[in-house]
């Protein structure tokens, strides 16, 4: 690959390509980098510019987020909410997607279109009615308020992605499983699910990140650290006289780490196709 790359492009082109790459990375990672720099600055330096880089780097903020705030509790809240949302969204989404991709159902296109239309409502338009529903269900300030809401809003995404992955599994494999004695449901979990694993993982990551980062609903439906998730928790870090930028930066970085690890671990899984060798070709 590398040698072909070299023979195909002139030196100036390669330089240009890398320049573009570095610029893209800077553009994407810039805010993260800024957060990192800020998180290392002592409070006196935080809102001053210059210096760009911390003159007197300190880890104080990293210590203080765990000491001064219920930080571990909000991480736990987020972890539980995001995990359960992912699980629920995958269970419902994969069953729906399997039906839409492989079973003999009428008006499939219509159903898929309808599902998609759900995700087109701006959250701000639905937040008030949802709040009323959540309150009357007695779920305010609980994990379930967020889990139910997030599952609803992530389902269109799950269904769409998974339907496409299930569609890619050749029909003949589904038929073979049926002839070999599987009921449609057995076909689903014995054959289709393992074959759509890359899709499942992709969907899981997307749903998890969505639930991990969501702010509006979390802000509306929670009121105490008992159920507050990370974005809200961080935004509401109490400052004494000013906004604790340093702590916020440190906390933001810490909570990004699980996501980065998640994506790196499953990256290979997402890319590699599993259906190779199933049918001729």
């Amino acid at each position: 690959m590398n040698s072909r790359f070299k023979t195909q492009y002139s030196k100036s082109k390669v330089v240009g390509l890398y320049l573009l790459l570095v610029m893209t990375i800077l553009y994407c990672a810039g805010p993260l980098l800024w957060q990192f720099i800020t998180s290392l600055k002592p409070d006196t330096e935080v809102i001053r510019m210059p210096p760009l880089l911390p003159q007197d780097a300190t880890l104080d903020h990293y210590v203080s987020i765990f000491e001064g705030h219920p930080f571990l509790r909000i991480i736990l809240n987020s972890a539980v909410v995001a995990s359960l949302t992912t699980l629920l969204s995958l269970i419902i989404g994969s069953l729906a997607a399997f039906g839409l991709a492989k079973l003999d159902i009428k008006y499939k296109a219509l159903i898929l279109g309808f599902v998609l239309s759900v995700s087109m409502f701006p959250p701000i338009a639905t937040v008030s009615p949802l709040y009323i529903i959540i309150r009357s269900l007695g779920l305010r300030d609980t994990w379930w308020a967020l889990i139910l809401t997030y599952t609803t809003f992530s389902l269109p995404l799950s269904i769409w992605i998974l339907t496409n992955f299930f569609r890619e599994v050749p029909d003949e494999i589904y038929r073979a499983a049926r002839v070999d004695g599987c009921s449609p449901f057995q076909t689903f979990y014995k054959i289709m699910l393992p074959l759509a694993a890359p899709g499942i993982v992709t969907t899981a990551i997307l749903v998890f990140i969505f639930s991990w980062n969501e702010f509006l609903f979390a802000l509306t439906f929670t009121s105490t650290p008992a159920s507050r998730t990370i974005p809200v928790g961080i935004a509401l870090f109490p400052g004494l006289h000013e906004i604790p930028w340093g702590d916020i930066a440190a906390a933001s970085l810490v909570v990004t780490i699980p996501l980065i690890i998640l994506v790196f671990v499953f990256q290979r899984r997402i890319i590699e196709g599993l259906t190779a060798g199933a049918v001729k070709g």
Partner: protein, 358 residues
């Protein structure tokens, strides 16, 4: 083993009539082949037998049981697919064991059965491999193994050999035939390859546009095609057809490119024209006259050697005709004159309107 009976079965996909009306009995233990061009509905028939698709109208019986509403599992059929449809996440062993596992067979028996089938099909060395690590021929064998590992009522095969190279295909063809003789399980085989159909079938049905054109033993269909479609579809290279004038109706006298023949037919044509069909293998393109059959002088357009003999294309009566080259001594050049010889009793006549054989 089961007898399979179709009773006025129709299948419609939205507005398209795929199977017009199928009434047919496939005998128990028979090797039955559906053959026809693509889109004729043959795979649909197979899927209806398997229970993967339901009939729009009519009934399907296994022996005396109506199976219309039974699931594939309840019908107890095994199927080999054109694309093999192996489970890519399972090893060869797991693939073949899968139907038994679904029947909740004990671990020991599964082990023994897989071993037995693997040795029949020469897969013993490959049991731990995954489908993607196998060649086309090996995958085909695994697909076959997965079907024969249990003793189903019916084997269904949907063009199982069409993805193999020519040599392997012929090899597997005779293996399939031998396997059938050994297991004696009703086998229904679908193909678009008429040669495959001829060599495998006990009986076959020629399909076109959702209808059976003719059903019978391969040789009967070859010798007595029911209509122009069957005559043109069965046999390779295909039959040549000529439009001919009827000289006299009683007794029938036909003018075929200026030669008068008195054919023996089952029905007298009503109009004053017929279509005459002659198989290439009955036509000789020679350098000498025998003064016995229809003989005419033609010029050679094209020669195609196939090893044991050569085909020669000539223009006769305005149409391109293929025949077996029979030149004593040196082979002819393109454009050289030759004698086309057609045995009178090999001419098959068809009604030009209905297409039916007379």
């Amino acid at each position: 083993m089961a007898e399979i009976r179709f009773e006025k079965v129709k299948k419609r996909f939205k507005d398209v009539m795929v199977i017009r009306e199928l009434t047919l009995t496939i005998n128990s233990g028979e090797f039955f082949v559906f053959v026809g061009p693509s889109g004729c509905g043959k795979s649909t028939i197979l899927n209806m037998i398997a229970g993967l698709e339901s009939a729009t109208e009519g009934n399907i019986y296994f022996d005396s049981t109506m199976v219309n509403d039974l699931s594939p599992k309840e019908r107890d059929v095994a199927m080999v697919f054109q694309s093999y449809a192996l489970y890519p996440h399972m090893t060869v062993f797991e693939n073949m064991a899968f139907p038994l596992r679904m029947q909740k067979t004990s671990r020991e028996i599964i082990g023994k059965e897989v071993e037995r089938v693997a040795s029949i099909l020469g897969l013993k060395e490959l049991l731990h491999r995954r489908p993607k690590e196998l060649s086309g021929g090996q995958r085909q064998r695994v697909a076959l193994g997965r079907a024969i590992i249990r003793q189903p009522k019916v084997f269904l095969m949907d063009e199982p050999l069409s993805n193999l190279d020519a040599r392997l295909r012929v090899e597997m063809r005779s293996e399939l035939k031998m396997l059938h003789q050994e297991l004696k399980i009703t086998t229904i085989y679908v193909t678009h390859d008429q040669a495959e159909a001829m060599s495998l079938a006990d009986r076959m049905a020629v399909l076109s546009k959702g209808e059976i054109q003719q059903c019978g033993a391969p040789t009967d269909i070859y010798l007595k095609p029911a209509n122009i479609f069957v005559a043109g579809f069965i046999g390779s290279p295909p039959m040549s057809f000529f439009r001919c004038a009827v000289k006299k109706h009683q007794p029938l006298e036909i003018d075929i490119n200026g030669f008068i023949i008195l054919p023996s037919v089952e029905a007298i044509p009503e109009g004053d024209g017929v279509v005459a069909g002659i198989r290439p293998e009955d036509i000789t393109v020679a350098d000498q006259r025998l003064e016995r059959d229809i003989e005419d002088t033609v010029s050679i357009e094209f020669i195609e050697p196939v090893g044991a003999f050569s085909w020669a294309d000539v223009i006769w009566g305005g149409a391109k005709v293929r025949g077996i080259l029979d030149f004593k001594g040196k082979g002819p050049e393109i454009g050289e004159n030759a004698i086309i010889r057609v045995p009178k009793d090999k001419v098959i006549l068809f009604d030009p309107d209905s297409g039916r054989r007379l």
